[in-house]
């Protein structure tokens, strides 16, 4: 394996303020598209979806006066690449406090690229019951879809090259679930000299 260090270049594409504005806009859009706020159920995909989901819950409550339910759904055990690779990603927390039956479920993800994570999330969701409708929020849509997955509410479209990684940075940590009320930012990392396939793989995960 080539271990030559590749040069990494990072640039911030969404700072905390822009993220706040995007999430407020998305909250508006969600409320505009439904008349049944009571049946809203935000299901965040860890790790990045969790702080975003929490902010969306606050926003929806402040706009509608109704606090929607929120769950956390780890998609690791539903990944379609487990059979092909030797590595086993660490499991993350799943907390689904209420039933998804007949709910309007909003999946919340930080960065959507190939669509494979959303596919896994939908499969996982179905194991918890039968939602009436499922929609998807992505703070960043990179648009390199490999599956027929549509983003219903996107914060920002950031078309990227292979070799670029998009990361939601939470406080000092990257995608740390436990951190609350930390400032968020989205950065694009470009690795020069990194092997294309590796970079794509990383971007998918």
């Amino acid at each position: 394996m080539d271990s030559e260090p590749s040069e990494t270049h990072s640039r911030v594409v969404l700072d905390d303020e822009k993220i706040r504005r995007a999430l407020m806009r998305i909250a508006h859009e969600i409320l505009e598209s439904t008349s049944e706020v009571e049946s809203l159920y935000l299901v965040a995909i860890p790790n990045g979806g969790v702080p975003l989901g929490r902010r969306l819950v606050e926003n929806i409550e402040s706009l509608s006066g109704i606090r929607p339910g929120m769950g956390i759904l780890d998609t690791t055990l539903y990944r379609d690449d487990l059979t092909r690779r030797g590595m086993r990603p660490r499991l993350r927390k799943t907390e689904m406090p209420s039933s998804v039956d007949d709910r309007l479920v909003i999946l919340v993800e930080d960065v959507v690229n190939t669509g494979r994570t959303i596919r896994a999330a939908m499969d996982a969701l179905m194991d918890f019951g039968r939602p009436r409708t499922v929609r998807v929020v992505a703070l960043v849509d990179r648009g390199r879809r490999e599956l027929p997955i549509k983003i219903d509410y996107a914060g920002k479209n950031i078309p990227t090259q292979s070799g670029e990684t998009v990361i939601l940075r939470i406080g000092e940590e990257e995608s740390e679930v436990e951190a609350r009320d930390e400032s968020l930012e989205v950065v694009v990392r470009t690795q020069r000299g990194a092997h294309d396939a590796d970079a794509v793989k990383e971007a998918q995960s």
Binding site: L82, T83, G86, R90, A124, D127
Partner: protein, 314 residues
């Protein structure tokens, strides 16, 4: 990451044990769902190769495999006589030709899982070999203690009974000491193995001293038919000296928990009340067994790649 096979806790690093426990905690949530199944190991084949019957362990691995959507095949091979043992590796090779993704091996002779792992491409999980190791049992014991006590580092754990012939004792000695607990073993002198102190534990022949201030008491199953006469004079005397009841438990910390790998000889290792009621956590152990074994299958199954390559890279 843990290695290709899981043959014993002695081979594991602390970080690897922690990864397994953490993964098992993640698996526990699945048991609370309506649909207790995830597609993770869909299309994978888990083989239970049990040369020695053990309904509990076998069932636990079977449920674990099925909850991960694997196909689970139970292959009960006879090991009734050692003279038939030349077929051992033949059995293993036959099995390998069927391309399993993980093979769970149980045998009454120490070292057999290791021998089978040497010839199989598929990863091997030791489900108990003779008096050697029973890693999945020890890991579920560690998970149980961790969840009951919130930590393992700094705890005192007393293992009581037939230490000499117990694979559960050995695996737990390695596991708990690696995680920073103090481990004591106690039993009649005839049931303490030679050199056990060199494994990093303190051995006691006085139950009272062994239990003094401990957080966890783990009683081991006594094989009454095998030991009586040769190694202990009688079950009655064993029960009187090392059987646990509420009175003897008072030597331990007030919040001490009581564990047993099962099945319990009621009234021998544990009194009836200690078998059924708090502070006994025996049913938590059983429950944790499934999640823990799901974690092992998740981390190990299907990682067969090529044994040759694995070895070449260390």
């Amino acid at each position: 990451m843990i290695g290709q096979d899981l043959l014993g806790i002695e081979d594991l690093e602390r970080e690897q044990i922690e990864l397994i426990l953490e993964t098992a905690e993640g698996m526990q949530e699945i048991a609370s769902r309506d649909v207790k199944k995830v597609p993770t190991l869909r299309g994978r084949t888990v083989v239970n190769l049990f040369f020695e019957p053990s309904t509990r362990t076998q069932t636990s691995f079977e449920i674990a495999g099925k909850r991960l959507a694997a196909d689970v095949v139970n292959f009960s091979a006879s090991s009734s006589s050692l003279s038939k043992s030349e077929s051992l590796l033949d059995t293993a090779k036959t099995l390998d030709a069927m391309d399993p993704d993980v093979v769970i091996v149980r045998h009454r002779v120490a070292g057999v899982p290791r021998k089978i792992a040497d010839v199989l491409d598929a990863p091997v999980i030791n489900a108990g070999d003779g008096a050697h190791e029973h890693p999945s049992q020890a890991l579920l014991d560690m998970l149980t203690v961790y969840q009951q006590k919130g930590r393992i580092e700094g705890l005192s754990v007393a293992i009581v009974g037939d230490i000499a012939h117990s694979r559960v004792a050995r695996s737990n000695i390695y596991g708990f000491t690696k995680l920073g607990a103090e481990v004591r073993v106690a039993g009649p002198p005839t049931l303490l193995p030679p050199g056990v102190d060199e494994l990093g534990v303190k051995s006691y022949t006085s139950l009272r001293e062994a239990l003094d201030g401990v957080d966890v008491v783990m009683a081991l199953r006594i094989q009454t038919e095998r030991l009586t006469g040769a190694l202990i004079p009688s079950v009655r005397e064993y029960s009187a000296t090392f059987g646990l009841d509420r009175a003897k438990l008072r030597f331990a910390r007030p919040d001490a928990i009581v564990m047993h790998p099962g099945p319990v000889n009621r009234g021998v290792e544990l009194s009836h009340e200690l078998t059924d009621d708090r502070p006994s956590v025996i049913l938590d152990q059983v429950r944790n067994g499934v999640a823990l074994r799901m974690a092992l299958l998740y981390l190990i199954a299907g990682r067969s790649a090529s044994r040759g390559k694995e070895q070449a890279s260390g």
